[in-house]
Amino acid sequence: MTDTILETRGLTKHYGGVHALSDASFTLRRGEHVAIMGDNGAGKSTFVRQITGVERPTRGQIIFDGVEHTFESPIEAREAGIETVFQNLALADDLDVPSNLFLGREKFRFRLGPFSILDKKAMREASLQALVKTGVKIPNLMNTIRNMSGGQRQCVAIARTAAFKSKLVIMDEPTAALGVQETAQVENIIRTLKEAGEPLILISHNMRQVFDLVDRVVVFRRGRIVANLRKQETSGEDVVSYITGAKTGSEFEGAA
């Protein structure tokens, strides 16, 4: 078993003429929490979509848990153990909490192809456990999530990662739309992941949050990784200067 849980080599994604991601080489160790920072349009979400099977990279390698993968779908990435909270949440408004947690990987009482019988009780109980594990407050988990607040919906999306055994959790701007209290709740969930030794990639614009929570900061700029900074050896100002391009990645050498 290697010490590295995720490694990408030369990961590149072009959308027609748009070079959204160029040559991204990135490593993450087991148990490590890394923040990805960068301006809007820097390619952070594109990077996430490549390593979670949502899109196929133009070129480059993804080595996860010691094995090279080409994920054909998000379900393959999840089966390999990568759980993701996407920036646009990927929840279905008209479904209740358990249905959302188990969307696309329902539990069954009886298998019969598309007409497999759902095991609603098991899904409800597993949902309760996931919500308890993450300390999420939901008034009634059998109601549709349509009328829930942004924070509650975000918590449902996060609880979804907790309902399954994962080897890596990725959160793309999980607190961008949340109030102070809701943000604190999400940050608490992230701390419990750290204590449990589960590795995390956190995309965030919030400097205080990043310095509170993670071990290392990777900065994206115009589709490239321009900095890889250990928290102890850097500062908010330093990070900002990489984000804005005031400082360029000359000092940046390889991965951690």
Partner: protein
Amino acid sequence: MVQTQHGIGGLSYDPAKRSRPPELNVFLALVLITVAFELIGRLFLGDSFLFNTRDNVDAIFNWQRLNIIILQVSIIGIIALGVTQVIISGGIDLSSGSIVGATAMVAMSFAQTAMVNGNPNPKAIFGDWAMDLPVLVPVLVGLGCGLAAGMVNGALVAFTRIPPFIATLGMMVFARGFSRWWSNGNPVSFPTEGYAAIGKGMMPVLIFVLLAVLFHLILTQTKYGKHCYAVGSNEQASRMSGIKVANHKVLVYTIAGMLAALAAIVLSSKNLTAQAGMGVMYELDAIAMAVIGGVSLQGGRGSILGTVLGALIFGVIISGFTFLQLDAYYQEMVKGVIIVGAVVLDQWRQGRSRG
């Protein structure tokens, strides 16, 4: 009663606290409309809509009228069951009425009897080999027609960028043309006794009720049902969660096509004949039943129970107008108002729950 409480979040599962099922409102509307006809009848006609007023019949209710109400909605109701699944999945199916026409023609051609009153069948489509076949043959051929048409609909919607409205409109026009071409516009008649039994008496009602129960269970208890709501609610999220959205859509339209075909079999059996013009506008009636029953045209919301209640409302209104002795063209006009009214109601509901 399951009740779980936790200190941390105060999160709970309390069945009593679930939001009120929207079907309750549809049911109340059904009761209200029925009561309205009853009152209008008593006040202006001196007759009862619901209750028996004839001395020579020993019954509390006017069973004859109640039977007609449910009988006249049950065939279109079968179509509405499929349309409900399509709309919940975020699509629309305009082809079901034409599939009824085409399927009726084809199925009836394989259900004909050789001799009518001692003479060869005057409406024979095929030669002797297709006469007096076991009832299973026309039924399977008919279902095959619905399956093929539905699969084409589904494939067009799932694998091309053609919107469902246009794809199924194409099928609507094609299938209607097909039914005219089939026998050069001539009706196909004189089915075998076995085929004629399918739609006899209250059989359409029985078939409708059984199918409604079956699809209620499928929509509420199976993976397919859950994916109908998921895809209709957020297609992108469904795809990102690993649901095979394209496969699901093909399946939904195929089921809808087969239900339309089944309605065609029941209808042609009941009428003992098939005509190229059968099922005209049924697609709109079926959509109206679903929408009246709370199925949202935006997708993601609705239920089979709602659609059944919507079908009953539809039947009560049509019967009510006959009861009030209003002319047929008033019925058409009122149907139009109901359809638009139901869509407006749906939009209003959507707006309210978003706000």
